[in-house]
């Protein structure tokens, strides 16, 4: 039996898995608030750290947090870390131009928002400590469809970007513990 022709040596198989998961109560409320341009996290009753988005527990104290632990945060903060991603073509890739992937620590929060776009500053001038403020989408364009229980897509499609406010940069003590 001779070796099969080369074109038979590869099997193309697309595997698709569909998931339908109800958002947890804490994330559902977070989503409700985002649609109203309000950012509401949870404050741990034990250590006082503020988590946004709220996970429904404090991972350091291992205690549950709930509706009674909600705390509203301002929509401005500090850029704690960033990178510029040059898109590579792969199945599902939607980006075509280099884009910013930044972490923003809202004033009063202990966890940064990740994967945010920063505007108002050229890429070459991005820096840790940059003060930024949310540029909300018009109310009718806000969507939270991308939010998952994994905490990714945690900011949904409610904010266009975070833009530089023009304030003096925050000092190192603000961002050094929250780079990632």
């Amino acid at each position: 039996m001779s070796a099969p022709p080369k074109e038979h040596l590869v099997m193309e198989h697309l595997v698709t898995l569909t998931y339908r998961e109800k958002l947890t109560e804490n994330l559902n409320r977070f989503a409700d608030n985002l649609l109203e341009a309000r950012i509401v996290g949870h404050k741990c009753p034990s250590c006082g750290r503020v988590y946004v988005p709220p996970k429904g527990y404090c991972p350091l104290c291992v205690v549950a947090t709930g509706n009674n632990d909600e705390v509203e945060l301002p929509d401005r903060g500090t850029l704690t870390g960033f990178t510029i991603i040059t898109p590579v073509a792969y199945y599902g890739q939607q980006q075509t131009e280099p884009f910013v992937w930044a972490s923003v620590l809202l004033d009063g929060a202990d966890t940064p928002l990740t994967g945010q776009n920063i505007t108002g500053v050229p890429h070459s001038e991005l820096r840790m400590g940059l003060r930024v403020k949310a540029r909300w989408k018009p109310r009718e364009q806000r969507s939270v469809e991308g939010m998952t229980n994994r905490g990714w897509g945690g900011f949904g499609d409610v904010v266009e970007s975070f833009e530089a406010t023009g304030e003096p940069d925050a000092g190192e003590e603000v961002y050094k513990e929250h780079i990632f």
Binding site: P4, M11, L14, T18, E21, K22, N28, D32, V144
Partner: protein, 145 residues
């Protein structure tokens, strides 16, 4: 508070799997209307053909054994409401079929039309996809005449 929102996520894995000489021979054989097996170390003929002996783990080489075109149903179940993931769009049987010439059975769909047409020990015949896609689904079984 609003009703809990449902997040719908679709994961897609576009695999391109190289098959190697043994699996490639089998999948390639379907394209030519051939059913192939492989001989294990102890002389048994295995269907479907695997690269390594299931008992000893030794490499079985790539010399293939011709099987079929008919076989015997060893065990079966009836899928009355197939889903989009199943190989047939109409009710069918998933069965363990032992191709003639093989000592083991392989899982495959039997296009029997009705569970009343299925029975343990019945004879079936291989049917090959006239437009092969290079997948195991190029093989279907049907009741032998």
């Amino acid at each position: 508070m609003s009703e809990p929102r449902v997040t719908v996520t679709k994961l897609e894995f576009p695999y391109s799997r190289t098959l190697g000489p043994v699996l490639g021979a089998f999948i390639g054989g379907l394209r030519e209307g051939k059913l192939l097996g492989i001989r294990a170390r102890d002389g048994r003929v295995l269907a479907p053909p695997v690269e390594y002996d299931p008992e000893t783990g030794e490499s079985l080489g790539s010399e293939m054994v011709a099987l079929g075109p008919e076989g015997t149903v060893v065990a079966w179940t009836w899928v009355g409401q197939p889903t989009a993931k199943h190989p047939l769009g109409r009710p069918f049987s998933f069965a363990l079929v032992k191709p003639d010439g093989a000592d083991t059975a392989m899982v495959g769909p039997v296009d029997a039309g009705s569970p009343d047409s299925m029975s343990t020990g019945m004879r079936v015949r291989a049917r090959f996809n006239p437009e092969p896609k290079g997948l195991v689904t190029d093989l279907t079984w049907e009741p032998a005449r």
